[in-house]
Amino acid sequence: MNLLRTFDTGFRGLLGHRLRSVLTTLGILFGVAAVICTVGIGQASTDSVQARIAALGTNLLTVTPGSTVSAGVNGGSGSATSLSMQDVSGLSDSYDAPDIEAVAPVVSGRGSLVSTASNWSTTVQGSTPAWLVTNARSMGSGSFFSDHDVQHHAQVMVLGATTALELGAGVGDIVTVNGIPFTVDGILASSGGQGFTNGDDLAVVPITTAQDDITGGSANSVQRILLSATSTDTIGSAYQEADALLLATHHIDTPADADFTITAQSSLQSTAESVTTTLTILLASVAAISLLVGGIGVMNSMLVSVTGRTREIGLRKALGATPGDLMRQFLIEAATLSFVGGVLGVGAALLAAWLIPRFTGISVTLTPAPIIIAVTVAAGVGLIFGVYPAARAARLAPIDALRAE
């Protein structure tokens, strides 16, 4: 039988069993689409978790004071006022602490902010220009205040995106804090991070001005010191340097007695890595399971479709079809169903990837690998289980195949 006629016979076989062909195609379609969509959703979740972790900053250290113990009551971490501006300048020394890139002291309090349009109550932090680096932030518009502003107790401020929005304030506007006017120098870009505090709802002013007008307290004491290492790789040594330096300046011999705590955000990094690993494993198992389920669906519909045609195979043999003729016919049928099912499956997955985010807010990230793997596996399973039972039937004596139920 020539090739053209084999194709003709194959397609006629498919058209002759329309329902069966449609069901088989559907089996492959859903197998492929399910794999692509589940992997796509998993991929999107992984990306989003990783992006959120990265947004929190992974080369940052925070120094907080130790706890006060008064009358046996432990005030908790940060209640002591053991950190000073001397610590800040010590840590800023690039000879003693070469792996520390930036140091920012922070004091903070609540402030009631009033603009010409609105009013808003929020956290007001006093710091230095290093604040931007040590918080891994960037400016949305305008600029951060300068060291000159810090030295001269300038009444300038930088607003978080949410705060600026609530106040209806822009760069150059005047906003009063507890009645004292400040000029808005800049507005921070949205942090994107979803930490326990909203990084977009705050105001930052020069630390000197804050101590004068907002937080009060000694001009020498700071509540927190933010450090950033020169890179993610040097965070370990930056930690060591800061620890040694502060122990020395605070005259503490045993590290257990330290009156400060250094929190490394790199613990965040290792968390991030383990989260990523877990998500990758999760993703791979979801993909493997959906591939397995899809593959079994394809296998079933193919097996049923071909096994149900044993008599037809017997008849065709009796009428003079050679095993080769039959193999080619079923190969073409299986290949066509697998191909059509695979292509429609990819189409359905693309459609779903477009629809799902619109109706559920779940995002779907499509990458080529799962599409290729899903189509290859579904088509491969379709081919194997479309041809293998046909090959078995083609080897039967025609008379046995004819008698099959």
Partner: protein
Amino acid sequence: MTAEIITLRKVSKVYGSGESAVRALDSVSLSVRERDFVAVMGPSGSGKSTLMHILGCLDVPSSGDYFFAGEDVAQMGETELARIRNRRIGFVFQQFHLLPSMSAWRNVELPLLYRSTTGRRERALRALDEVGLANRVDHRPNQLSGGQQQRVAIARALVTEPTLILADEPTGNLDSQSSKDVLALLRSLNEAGHTVVLITHDAGVASVAGRVVEMSDGTLRERAAA
């Protein structure tokens, strides 16, 4: 003197081996000549189905010689047997064995797909005309009566212009009127020059044949013409 189409010489067929071996055919010899109409008669279990499989090149003998139109069939491989079945033999089965998804003429066309032939539709339509179904060519098998289905099957057997028409209980699933029609059709095909071998357990059916041979317990016996 007409040519000998079928020559069986001491053909045996044994199924299984050892203790459980069943000798379905025991040293059967038979010759069928061109334009013969032979009925093979016998009760079920007599070996007539086995004989039909061997005559139809659907199976090969365990021992003995089988020449079909001069070709040594007993020695043939699967592909060669497929070619003989396709070119030389037209089958008519008790169960009709029409493909339900195809129209009458597509069913008739089937054997022509396995050889290089042009004008397949014309040949299929001509064969359907010969069996009196020219007005049913586009009907599906389930739109036809049993008798009509069997006539489609006969047209499928005819379409290849075979050397031999082999009918296995062709009336087994038909009512008496349809049976008469089908037998009359086989009879007229024989008169038109076709060689027909008819396999049946029914003496009434066998009586349409010019020659009757009887199978019993794997052996074959010629019955004197009535």
